[in-house]
């Protein structure tokens, strides 16, 4: 355990924890759209900024990807922090003015949100789906489009690699805006525009997982497919 100071309070934090986690332990609320407890930090939305004292100067830093350090000093509620979060939210709102999730958090952070359409589900490039697919599922069916000299892509987006997808739906689960749409119609699931055949539970008969996903788990773990054909409730 190491000791850090958050908003003047001395607290003990686990080594390897992030400032965001340490603050959450203290029930300090920090806004974020791109962090999730089971995934590595990514620092996409910039809403979770705090002030960290470095070389004697207070500097803005995203708390989700800043590991705690012995003696670290953090401020989570100064005017500068509030201004920073507000600007980050303002820019998100500038690009996605009709996406509900963005409007909601922008409003909370003091952005003047105009009345109007609020039922869109734009992708805000938070990277939760790509990280889930890589880190938790392990199939890498989602990835960021890259940019750089000579690669003149107008609008970066998430690329979907249909061949790699097993239809597990984890990306839809973590998506903060509802951009990733998943529809289950009994024997068939549709996600990212691709149809997956569903397997029914050998005990209760309920459709519970895509065949591709069970095949993949079977291959990965060596457990025979037949044994995976029982849903979690009946197991």
């Amino acid at each position: 355990m190491i000791t850090i100071k958050i908003d003047g309070r001395k607290v003990r934090a686990k080594e390897g924890a992030t400032v965001l986690q340490a603050a959450q332990e203290l029930r300090i609320e920090i806004p974020t759209l791109c962090s999730y407890k089971d995934l590595s930090p990514f620092g996409a939305c910039r809403l979770c900024v705090v002030e960290v004292k470095a070389n004697g100067k207070w500097q803005l830093a995203t708390s989700c990807d800043a590991p705690v350090k012995e003696g670290m000093e953090v401020r989570t509620n100064t005017d500068r922090v509030k201004e920073g979060r507000k600007l980050a939210a303002e820019l998100l709102y500038y690009r996605y003015p009709t996406t509900g999730a963005v409007r909601e958090i922008a409003g909370k952070l003091g952005v003047d949100v105009a009345e109007g359409k609020a039922d869109d589900h734009d992708c805000i490039l938070c990277g939760l789906c790509t990280r889930t697919c890589h880190e938790v599922v392990g199939v890498d069916a989602l990835t960021f489009m890259d940019r750089g000299p000579g690669r003149n892509i107008d609008q970066p987006k998430i690329e979907y690699i249909a061949d790699a997808c097993i239809g597990c739906g984890s990306c839809a689960f973590v998506c903060p805006t509802g951009f990733v749409k998943m529809e289950d119609k009994g024997h068939q699931r549709t996600i990212w525009g691709k149809d997956f055949k569903m397997e029914s539970c050998g005990v209760c008969g309920r459709y519970f997982a895509p065949v591709d996903q069970l095949t993949w788990i079977s291959k990965k773990t060596g457990v025979p497919y037949e044994r995976l054909k029982t849903c979690t409730s009946c197991r």
């Binding site: 996409a44 470095a54 920073g84 690009r95 490039l125 990277g127 890589h134 990835t143 960021f144 970066p156």
Partner: protein, 637 residues
């Protein structure tokens, strides 16, 4: 007198617009690029104006549009911030500007610099626009008020980064690292191949000057740029190995290349891609040049270079092995239909060390380059009890570590200066010491004694360090009366190599320097002879693999221009401009480099197995996440 009207470069503001006596901008302010005067330039570190007629709002908008292409969108503030700036400026230009627009722009710029995830967003994307607004605010106001129109001009732009600028071949390092971060290893490899056709080789054996200039050094440790390149190459080879890009439409013209080393292979690859017929004449039975016969297997396994050479052959480059060109006959090459010739023969001939006994022909007293060549071509080398290696460069270290692996019991390096001056890579020296190589500093050989054709003894003299010489290193001075003798059964002289130019009949006509290297123009790679180009070690003297690749990359473009009768346009050089500096630093959490495994020193003897391990895909992605993406952009007219 200064020709600079305004400069905010590096944050130092110089305003000569109303000054009676114009002040000088000083060194490091980019007023010229590739020798051409710029009228106005906006770049990551400021704004420079030399022509009063330059339209700054128009230049600023052009910069924003270029910046938009580089902004990755991985964090939301930088890219949306740029979009908002562009929208605001376009509104102003359309006469729809609002009061307070400039103050609003300033607020967004400051916020984006503070909030961005990478160094492009922090230090490049919008920072110089702030200077334009602050110091040329009247022009922006005039635009907003409809009193001024944006000039329609085309602006030039160029991109670099501290790592890219340090790389002799200017690889798009942040670009290929970004592709790895996004799990696109094959795309990453193809981007690397544009300027480095031997990625697996360079990913192992490069001296990686890029890592010395990595901005991350100031925070924790450099990015493992070399190992990431290796990861891209290894990933592809593990998947079966992708073919190189197809060639353009077949051209009738042919080019001859002498030497299948890194320079020759790079020239051949690029010309072939342009559609030329290319034939390489190679004296040795294998391709790769010094990468093959100069670097032992434990650092660079042969299958890596063989694979990469084969890929170049498979795209249609003819490589004639065992075809030593004894006499360069240009007339004959012309008759065979070759429009141009590239000389890339390397520097394979050892230099004299200047000690007695050197002239004798003896199997126990050899040149370092010859020793490594024999070893790599499979010649059997009997281990002796003791070997003394003379020299302090990588060749000396390679010889020493090879000897240990061959079963020599006592391996000693003599170097005439101290560790500090030693030109070999630090990591190589460390490995050698760890494996049991002894290094004696401040010692030089005087005489090698032989009996019945066998080396028996070496006589040495101690040295001390004097004043620095022209290389900047302190000169070794003999200590009188310090001579001593030591028994040894073998001596390897590894103090440097020169090109073997015996195949050039008329050296005067071609042009040869006092160092014994070929004279070639450093930009166009042309020699004095019409249609003959040269690059790599035979021009530079023994240099690095990546410098040879760079020569090959550029010479190919120059040869293409020559054959088509066009002027050769070299790329933009950032020489003289400090690309390391950035005005906004921001807070970066420290995160140490991902480490690879090394073969246990205890099991290295007797085996030429590769010592350094590589990254797996997941580890490579983790390491790639450390990249700060320090792209630097300049736009100018």
């Amino acid at each position: 007198m200064s020709d600079v009207l305004f400069s905010s470069w590096d944050g130092r503001v110089l305003d000569n617009r109303k000054a009676a006596a114009k002040k000088d901008a000083g060194a490091g302010v980019p007023t010229k690029l590739n020798g051409h005067q710029v009228a106005a330039l906006i770049g990551w570190n400021g704004l420079v104006v030399t022509d009063a007629k330059a339209d700054i709002p128009s230049l600023a908008l052009a910069y924003l549009r270029e910046a938009r292409k580089l902004s990755c969108g991985e964090c939301s503030v930088c890219q949306i911030g740029i979009d908002k700036m562009i929208d605001m400026m376009e509104n102003m230009a359309a006469g729809k500007g609002k009061k307070g627009d400039l103050a609003e722009m300033e607020r967004v710029i400051k916020g984006v610099s503070e909030l961005s995830k990478c160094n492009f967003g922090r230090a490049s994307a919008l920072v110089p626009i702030l200077d334009a607004i602050r110091y040329f605010g009247d022009e922006f106001q005039a635009l907003a008020a409809g009193r001024k129109k944006l000039q329609k001009k085309s602006y030039a732009s160029a991109v670099t980064a501290p790592c890219m600028a340090a790389c002799p071949a200017s690889l798009d390092i942040p670009g290929y690292i970004e592709l790895i971060r996004n799990n696109k290893f094959v795309d990453s490899l193809n981007l690397i191949r544009e300027r480095c056709i031997l990625p697996g080789v360079i990913g192992r054996a490069c001296t990686h000057p890029c890592e010395d200039d990595c901005v991350r050094n100031d925070i924790d440790e450099t990015l493992a740029i070399r190992l990431l390149k290796r990861a891209a190459a290894d990933f592809d080879r593990d998947q079966g190995g992708s073919a190189l890009g197809a060639s353009a439409k077949e051209k009738a013209d042919k080019v001859a290349v002498i030497g299948a080393g890194p320079a020759g292979l790079a020239v051949a690859y690029h010309l072939r891609r342009m559609g030329y017929g290319v034939t390489i004449f190679e004296a040795l039975p294998k391709g790769g040049g010094m990468a093959t016969v100069g670097i032992p297997d434990y650092r660079l396994p042969k299958d890596v270079i063989n694979h990469e050479t084969d890929l170049i052959r498979n795209m249609g480059v003819k490589i004639e092995y065992n075809r030593r060109v004894d006499k360069l006959d240009l007339e004959d090459l012309k008759r065979q239909g070759f429009r141009a010739v590239f000389l890339g023969v390397g520097a394979h001939k050892g230099t004299k060390i200047g000690c007695e006994g050197e002239e004798a022909v003896c199997a126990d007293f050899v040149q370092g380059s010859e020793f490594l060549r024999d070893l790599s071509l499979g010649k059997k080398i009997e281990p002796r009890k003791k070997v003394v290696i003379i020299g302090g460069g990588n060749v000396a270290i390679d010889c020493a570590r090879s000897c240990l692996r061959l079963g020599f019991k006592d391996v000693e390096i003599l170097y005439r200066r101290s560790r500090k001056e030693m030109p070999a890579n630090d990591e190589e020296i460390e490995h050698a010491l760890e494996e049991g190589v002894k290094i004696r500093y401040l010692v030089a050989p005087v005489c090698v004694f032989m009996k019945e054709g066998k080396v028996t003894t070496i006589e040495c003299r101690k040295m001390k360090l004097g004043e620095p010489d022209e290389s900047g290193r302190r000169r070794p001075i003999p200590v009188p009366g310090s001579e001593y003798k030591a028994a040894t059964e073998m001596v390897i002289a590894a103090t440097g190599q020169v090109p073997d130019l015996a195949f050039i009949v008329d050296k005067e006509q071609l042009g040869v320097t006092g160092w014994g290297t070929i004279k070639a123009d450093p930009v166009s790679y042309r020699t004095q002879l019409e249609g003959v180009f040269a690059g790599g070690d035979c021009v530079l003297g023994p240099a690095t693999l990546i410098e040879a690749l760079d020569a090959g990359n550029k010479a190919a473009r120059s040869i293409d221009a020559y054959i088509r009768g066009k002027r050769y346009e070299p790329g933009i050089s950032f020489k003289g401009i400090d690309v390391g500096k950035q005005r906004v630093e921001g807070y970066v959490s420290s995160r140490p480099e991902e480490k690879v495994k090394f073969l246990d020193p205890a099991v290295r003897g007797g085996s030429f197995a590769e010592v350094e391990g590589g990254y797996g895909a997941s580890q490579a992605i983790k390491e790639a996440e450390r990249c700060l993406r320090c792209y630097r952009l300049v736009v100018w007219e």
